[in-house]
C-alpha cells in the first residue's frame, strides 16, 4: 500500500449511512504524545479499535551525528556520542572509544577497563529502571514509576560522584578513563582516582537496588491486569526478529540467547559470572521480565567487579593531539537497548573519515509495521512501550 501525500494528510471520519457502511480512520499518534518516548509519529489506519496499517514516521530528532563526526576530532566526538541514547548515557561512549583504541593498537589499563565496565553496568541498571518506571505507566499503573525512579537516583548519584554527570558523563578518554582530579590548587596536578568510599557506596546501593527490584516484581509481576494486558500481546517470533536486526532484551525475550557481552571483548566481561536471560514467547510480558531480571544480573556483575577491581593507571600514555592511524574497524557492544556499534573509517587524521553509528533502537522499531498489523489501539501503546526505544537512538 503506498502512502502518498494525500493519503497521509487525509482525515477521514467515520460515517454511518443507511447501509451501515463505515470508513476507516487515519489516526496520527504523535509526534507529541505521552507515550511515544519522544517525537515518534505513527500513522495508523484504524477501523474501530483495530488498526490494520501502521507506518512510523521518524526523523524529528535527526541531528546528523554521522556528518557531524566527520568534522570533529576524536575527543570532541566523545562528548557528543553519549547523547545518542540519553537514558544510558555512559554506555554509548564505550564502543566508540574502543574502536579508536583498536585502530591505535592501545593497551588500556586494567583498572580503567574495570571502571568502564562498572559504569556501563550502572548505565544499564539506570536504563532498565526507566523502562520499569514508564512501561507500567503506559498501561495505567502510576505507582511503579515513583519506586523505580527513586532507585534510579541511587545509581545516578553514584555515576555523578565518579564522572560529574548524571546523563552525559563524558568520562571516557582515548586510552582509558578520565583521570579525576581533586579540587583545590594543591592537588591540581595529581591524578586522583575514584572518589573515596565509592566502592563501599556502590555495594550499599546495589543491595538497595536488589531490594527494590524485588519490590517492583511483587508490585507488577503478579498483577492480573498487567498479565492480561501483556501476555500474548505483540508476539515477536525469533526469525522475524533477527531478520530485522532486533537486538538486546527484545531479541532475548523471543528466546534467542544472544548477548554481546558474552561474545565480544570490548570490556572484560569474561572475568565475571552472569547469566543470559531469555524469555519464552516473545510477547510484551517477556520483554518486561527480561529487563527486570537483567537488572539483577547487572548488580551481580557490579558486585563482582567492585570486589576484584585492580589498582593501576587510569589512562594509557597517549599524545596530546590524538591521531588515529589509517584503518577500518567495527566494534559492537551490548547497550541496554540492544546492539550498538561504530564502524570507524580512519584516514590518519584528527577525526574520522566516516563514522557509521549502528544504533539499537533504529532496528528495534523497524519491526513496528510488522508487529502492529491487525492489533488493537491500546495494544499499540503496550507493544511500543515494551520495545523500549529512545528517539535519540532512532534518529541519531
Amino acid at each position: 500500500m503506498t502512502l502518498d501525500a494525500d493519503t497521509i494528510r487525509h482525515m477521514s471520519e467515520t460515517s454511518v449511512s443507511i447501509e451501515l457502511e463505515t470508513e476507516d480512520m487515519t489516526l496520527n499518534i504523535g509526534p507529541q504524545h505521552p507515550s511515544t518516548h519522544g517525537v515518534l509519529r505513527l500513522v495508523a489506519r484504524v477501523d474501530g479499535e483495530r488498526c490494520f496499517d501502521v507506518r512510523p514516521v521518524i526523523g524529528y530528532m535527526h541531528r546528523g551525528y554521522e556528518k557531524l563526526s566527520e568534522v570533529r576530532t576524536y575527543p570532541q566526538i566523545t562528548t557528543i556520542v553519549n547523547r545518542i541514547d540519553w537514558v544510558s548515557g555512559y554506555a554509548n561512549e564505550v564502543p566508540f572509544i574502543v574502536a579508536a583504541e583498536k585502530l591505535m593498537e592501545l593497551e588500556v589499563p586494567e583498572r580503567a577497563q574495570y571502571i568502564r565496565l562498572i559504569l556501563t553496568e550502572m548505565a544499564r541498571i539506570s536504563s532498565h529502571l526507566v523502562f520499569n518506571a514508564s512501561y507500567p505507566l503506559e498501561l495505567g499503573a502510576a505507582t511503579p514509576l515513583f519506586f523505580a525512579l527513586r532507585e534510579r537516583e541511587r545509581v545516578l548519584d553514584l555515576l555523578e560522584s565518579v564522572t560529574g554527570g548524571r546523563f552525559h558523563p563524558n568520562f571516557n578518554r582515548i586510552g582509558g578513563v578520565k583521570p579525576a582530579y581533586a579540587s583545590g590548587s594543591q592537588t591540581r596536578k595529581l591524578a586522583q582516582d575514584l572518589p573515596a568510599g565509592f566502592l563501599q557506596e556502590t555495594r550499599d546501593a546495589m543491595d538497595k537496588v536488589l531490594t527494590a527490584v524485588d519490590e517492583l516484581e511483587d508490585l507488577v509481576a503478579g498483577n492480573e491486569i498487567i498479565l492480561a494486558r501483556t501476555k500474548g500481546v505483540g508476539v515477536l517470533p525469533p526469525e522475524v526478529a533477527v531478520a530485522y536486526g532486533v537486538s538486546g532484551p527484545n531479541l532475548r525475550a523471543s528466546g534467542v540467547a544472544f548477548d554481546l557481552r558474552k561474545t565480544e571483548d570490548y570490556l572484560p566481561y569474561d572475568r565475571f559470572d552472569f547469566d543470559v536471560i531469555t524469555g519464552e514467547n516473545g510477547d510484551c510480558w517477556d520483554r518486561w521480565h527480561v529487563r527486570l531480571q537483567e537488572i539483577r544480573e547487572s548488580v551481580k556483575i557490579i558486585q563482582q567487579a567492585v570486589d576484584s577491581i585492580p589498582s593501576g593507571d587510569l589512562q594509557a600514555k597517549v599524545p596530546k593531539v590524538i591521531k588515529v592511524p589509517k584503518g577500518q574497524t567495527y566494534v559492537r557492544a551490548e547497550n541496554p537497548k540492544g546492539e550498538m556499534g561504530y564502524y570507524l573509517v580512519s584516514d590518519g587524521g584528527n577525526g574520522p573519515y566516516r563514522l557509521k553509528i549502528r544504533s539499537a533502537s533504529f532496528s528495534n522499531i523497524s519491526i513496528l509495521p510488522w508487529i502492529l498489523e491487525g492489533i488493537l489501539v491500546p495494544d499499540i501503546i503496550a507493544v511500543m512501550g515494551s520495545l523500549d526505544f529512545v528517539l535519540g537512538d532512532v534518529d541519531r
Binding site: 505521552p34 495505567g140 502510576a142 515513583f146 491486569i225 488493537l376
Partner: protein, 335 residues
C-alpha cells in the same frame, strides 16, 4: 429548634431555596475534599509528599487554588466543535451527579426527598452522565475525543447492568425501594445487608468504578493513549465541571453503596435519638472508607483493555449478579 426557624422552613419556597443552596455548596465542597484526599493519599502511596505549599504545611488550600485557577482560564471552544453540544455536555454530567444527592439519607429525617422509588431514581438519573460524556466526545471535533467517547459509551452502558442488578439483592431483603426504607430495614434486622449481599456489594463497587471511569476502567480517558479521551478539548471552567463531577460522583456512589449495603447512617448499638445528630458523621465515615478503597485501586492497578473490560462485565458480573438475585429471592421466600 426555635419556633421561628421551623416556621420559616415550613414555607415551601424557603425550604426549596435552602435545599438548593445546600446542594450547590455541597458539591464543590465534597469534590474538593475528596480531590484533596486523593492527592494526599496517592502521594503517600508513591513515596511523595503531595500538596505542600498551598495553605501551610498541609497544602489544604491546593484545591481551592486549583478551583480559582480553572475559573479564571480562557474559555476555549475548538473551531470545528459543535458549540451548543460542547457547552452543554459538562452540565449534563454534573446534573447526573447532583441529582443523586436528593435521595441519600443522612439521618432519620435528613434527606432531601424520600422518594418511594429512591434507588430506582438514583440509578436512572446517574445514566444521564453517560449521555453527557458521549456528547463531549462527539462534539470535540477531535479523533482522540471521538475514540474516547465511543469507548465511554461502550463501557458505561455495559456496566449499567451489573450496577442495577447488584442493587436488587438489597432491595429484595429490604422489601422497598425507598432509601430511608432500606436503612430502616437494616435497623430492624439488626445487621447491615453486606453480611448476605457481599457478592452484590463487590459487583456494585466494581461497576461504580467503571461508571466513574476510574482506573482500572479508565479506557475512555486513558491518559497515556488518548491524551485525555473525551476530555481532551476541555479546559478551564468546563474542565472544572468534569473534574468536580468525578469526585462528587465518587461521593454519591459510595454513599449509595453505604446506604444499601453498609447500613447508611446507622451503626449497631447507637440509639435512635443519637442518630439524628451522629447519622451524617457515621455515613460520611463509611463513605470515606469506600472512597479510600477507590483511590487505592486507582493507584495500584493498570487499566483494562476495552475488550477485557467488556468481557468482565458481560461474562462475569452480569451472571454473578443474576445468581445473587436468584439466591437472595429463594432465601427470602424460604426463610
Amino acid at each position: 429548634m426555635p419556633g421561628w426557624v421551623t416556621d420559616l422552613f415550613s414555607n415551601f419556597w424557603v425550604s426549596l431555596g435552602g435545599k438548593l443552596l445546600l446542594v450547590a455548596l455541597m458539591i464543590p465542597l465534597v469534590g474538593m475534599i475528596i480531590g484533596f484526599a486523593e492527592m494526599k493519599l496517592s502521594a503517600k502511596m508513591q513515596a511523595r509528599v503531595g500538596p505542600y505549599f498551598a495553605g501551610g504545611r498541609w497544602g489544604w488550600a491546593q484545591l481551592i487554588a486549583d478551583g480559582v485557577k480553572f475559573f479564571q482560564k480562557e474559555d476555549i471552544v475548538p473551531t470545528d466543535a459543535d458549540r451548543p453540544v460542547f457547552k452543554t455536555a459538562p452540565m449534563l454530567v454534573l446534573v447526573g451527579t447532583v441529582a443523586l444527592l436528593v435521595v441519600i439519607p443522612f439521618g432519620p429525617n435528613l434527606i432531601f426527598r424520600d422518594l418511594d422509588v429512591g434507588i430506582f431514581y438514583a440509578l436512572a438519573i446517574s445514566s444521564l452522565s453517560t449521555i453527557g460524556i458521549l456528547m463531549a466526545g462527539w462534539s470535540s471535533a477531535n479523533k482522540y475525543s471521538l475514540i474516547g467517547g465511543l469507548r465511554a459509551a461502550g463501557q458505561l452502558i455495559a456496566y449499567e447492568l451489573p450496577l442495577v442488578l447488584a442493587v436488587v439483592g438489597s432491595v429484595i431483603l429490604a422489601g422497598t425501594m425507598s432509601m430511608q426504607g432500606i436503612v430502616q430495614a437494616q435497623i430492624d434486622a439488626g445487621y447491615p445487608f453486606i453480611i448476605f449481599q457481599f457478592v452484590g456489594f463487590g459487583i456494585f463497587m466494581i461497576a461504580s468504578l467503571a461508571e466513574l471511569s476510574r482506573i482500572p476502567f479508565d479506557m475512555p480517558i486513558a491518559e497515556s493513549e488518548l491524551v485525555m479521551g473525551y476530555l481532551t478539548e476541555y479546559s478551564g471552567f468546563r474542565f472544572l465541571f468534569f473534574f468536580l463531577a468525578e469526585f462528587a460522583n465518587m461521593f454519591t456512589l459510595s454513599a449509595i453503596a453505604a446506604t444499601l449495603f453498609l447500613g447508611g447512617y446507622w451503626l449497631p448499638g447507637v440509639p435512635e435519638d443519637v442518630l439524628a445528630y451522629a447519622g451524617p458523621i457515621i455515613l460520611i465515615a463509611k463513605v470515606f472508607l469506600l472512597v479510600f478503597a477507590m483511590i487505592w485501586f486507582r493507584w495500584t492497578f493498570p487499566r483494562f483493555r476495552e475488550d477485557q473490560l467488556q468481557r468482565l462485565a458481560w461474562m462475569w458480573l452480569v451472571p454473578l449478579a443474576l445468581i445473587n438475585i436468584t439466591v437472595t429471592a429463594f432465601l427470602k421466600v424460604l426463610l
